[in-house]
């Protein structure tokens, strides 16, 4: 037995393990693999299913329900509301992300060191963890044969405007730029945890229960000793089989929205005021340029590099081609007008502006799902307007004939002159359309129980035996793609998990 699914479970089944890890994404897979390698008996529990590389395809109607939480229909409520996406499958979000491996910048880690009052989260202490992770996921630059025209266009635009452009380092082994990162890499090049950490963990004897949603922690005499879950029937989507896992330690790695949702269910008697607070999400705005010539942005790596000229202001720009179904869902036109616009799909350069959060939101428990609330601040809004204007200017500089803007009341700019109207027309935060894929910070790590949720071992201050290893540990936003930072922290937590005899 290595990977089990719904069809394999019997009614009211109990499993035993030394450590149960909930989740198999960037946090869970890494923590579990490290623990298994250290000789622990590890059992993963994953809500999604196992989809081998040979089953991945470029079709959204198959991939979205298979690989994404809630079939991609997840939203953060606020001003404006922000749709978000996260993986729900073995591999978690690493299976459907771009695989960028930017380390958290030094200034961020220095801030973490200051905030926690301990050196553990500083650049020096975390460097060996970053090194270890990067080696295991093959973090390296792209081969020229994998880079597409949209990446070259953005790089050339940045060069002309005198902006700093940096090539991405990605978790990939001989990536050939098939551009299917968002629907799961069908070539096997992207080193998601499905291909890197999970096989490693299984080779050290770990086991994995898939299609099981954990709804409760098992607590005895004030200590976490396991989890209660229900297996999800893939045909009816009903939770119909009770599953229990008894263990000596529990590592919760469900991401920055689901982890606090699970922990908040046990808040009675444990009133940590920080749990679910400090929710950060790196909101993004899409800027789609239409050129008078073919670019075929769907050929070549999904993101070749980033414009980092404005990183000190918390603004990053990059290209990120999405399939036509995703592109069409974001354009504010219907019917034949939508088709007319989509017929220019091969001429589209799909780019975006990421802004580092200056304000935090919250995650609370809704009726039967987490409720994430977050509104951008006036300062973030200003930076979005600036970033969008700058990125659209680059496109016009490179010869774009039209730019689709993320504003409900000004969806199209036909020339650089139109961009002057952005500041005048965009006074309200309600007219900007954002999305995100980076969710962080709801169980912040720290050295003080009043200002953090978990200690520097990753263990909840008020629930011994329960550890957190995912992006919810972040004390502040990282301002860059968080995958490798999550993995580094998960490695650190795994080395500090205490398993009682």
């Amino acid at each position: 037995m290595s990977i089990l699914a719904h069809r394999d479970y019997r009614a009211d089944q109990t499993f035993d393990a030394e450590v149960v890890v909930v989740g198999t994404g960037a946090g869970g897979a890494v923590a579990g693999a490290e623990l298994a390698e250290a000789g622990r008996d590890v059992l993963f529990v994953e809500e999604g299913s196992y989809h081998p590389t040979s089953s991945l395809n470029p079709y959204l109607t198959e991939s979205i329900p298979r690989l994404y939480r809630d079939a991609g229909a997840t939203i953060i409520m606020g001003r404006p509301p922000i749709p978000y996406a996260e993986g729900r499958c073995v591999g978690g979000s690493t299976l459907v992300n771009g695989g960028m491996t930017w380390r958290a910048p030094e200034r961020v880690l220095m801030e973490w060191e200051t905030l926690t009052g301990q050196p553990d989260l500083g650049p020096k202490a975390l460097a060996p963890f970053f090194d270890r992770v990067e080696e295991r996921i093959h973090a390296k630059p792209q081969h020229p044969a994998s880079v597409g025209e949209d990446s070259r266009l953005l790089e050339e635009g940045a060069r002309r405007l005198g902006w700093r452009y940096e090539h991405n380092r990605r978790a990939q082994d001989r990536c050939v730029g098939s551009n299917q990162c968002l629907t799961g890499c069908p070539t096997g090049a992207k080193q998601s945890t499905l291909l890197s950490y999970m096989p490693r963990a299984l080779s050290f004897g770990a086991r994995c229960l898939t299609e099981v949603r954990i709804h409760k922690l098992w607590i005895e005499r004030g200590r976490c000793v396991g989890v209660f879950g229900k297996a999800v029937n893939p045909h009816t989507r009903r939770c119909d089989i009770d599953i229990r896992v008894r263990s000596k330690a529990v590592v919760v790695s469900c991401g920055a929205v689901q982890t606090p949702y699970l922990l908040l269910g046990h808040r009675w008697g444990r009133r940590n005021p920080q749990l679910g607070k400090n929710f950060l999400c790196h909101p993004n705005a899409k800027v789609v340029a239409i050129y008078p010539f073919d670019i075929h942005a769907w050929q070549g790596v999904s993101q070749g590099g980033q414009i980092r000229e404005f990183l000190d202001e918390g603004i990053v720009m990059a290209e990120n081609a999405v399939p036509p179904g995703t592109a069409a869902a974001q354009i504010p036109v219907l019917g034949e007008e939508a088709l007319e616009l989509m017929q220019q799909y091969n001429r589209m350069a799909m780019t975006g502006v990421l802004v580092e959060d200056s304000r935090a939101g919250t995650v609370t428990r809704g009726f039967d799902a987490p409720l994430a609330r977050y509104s951008i601040s006036a300062y973030d809004h200003e930076r979005f307007l600036r970033g969008i204007r700058l990125l659209a200017t680059l496109h016009f500089e490179m010869g774009a004939k039209q730019v689709v803007l993320p504003f409900s009341n000004m969806p199209i700019a036909n020339s650089a002159d139109d961009l002057r109207r952005i500041e005048q027309t965009q006074r309200s935060r309600s007219t900007i359309e954002l999305f995100t894929v980076h969710l962080m910070g709801t169980c912040r790590m720290g050295g003080n129980r009043r200002t953090s949720v978990v200690n520097l071992r990753g263990e909840l201050w008020d629930l011994p035996g329960c550890y957190v290893a995912d992006a919810s540990l972040f004390p502040t936003a990282v301002g860059v793609n968080p995958q490798v930072t999550i993995m580094a922290l998960a490695t650190m937590v795994a080395q500090r998990v205490e398993v009682p005899n």
């Binding site: 989809h51 044969a145 096997g188 075929h296 799909y345």
Partner: protein, 178 residues
Amino acid sequence: MVTSPVLQRHPEDSWALAAPRTVSPRTRRVLLALADAIIPTSPRTETTLTDVTRHALVCLQYMPRSSAIVFLAGMRLLNWSPLWRLRGVRPLTRLSRDEARRHLLAVTRSRWLPVRLLMYGPLGLFMSTYFDQDYAHRSINYDPVPFIEGRIELRRKWVEGEEPGTDQEIHHLPVVPP
């Protein structure tokens, strides 16, 4: 080891899409009317509308129950958008496709955020399903499978020791303007 994906629409990995959510005939009519107004009129096949709405009902099965209920309630509210926008007394199901589309476009571009929010779900679900079909791909000259197959072959050779050369680079731009 390099795996050999088959890139099929319905891959054999012993996993199946959930059965669509059961809804009343009235709700089904509302979904059909909304899909008809949102997606392009052509190209379509005889089953396009039922396929698109069926997939929306499948996706609802993957959402929390409360989200699915809110989504369906939003659809019913959209159906009566002519009434609450004070532009008519008949629901979208009783209007022609063009009239319904005009109403929905106005909702999509409304200055009021909660009103615009009603269109997030149907626009996302119906458009992404429609533009994922082979006939829609053909109409926009998008054909990913041969390209991906070529890239898989390229990687296979690379794994065997043959590193890609400059002739394997991806180039399309005729001229980058000065």
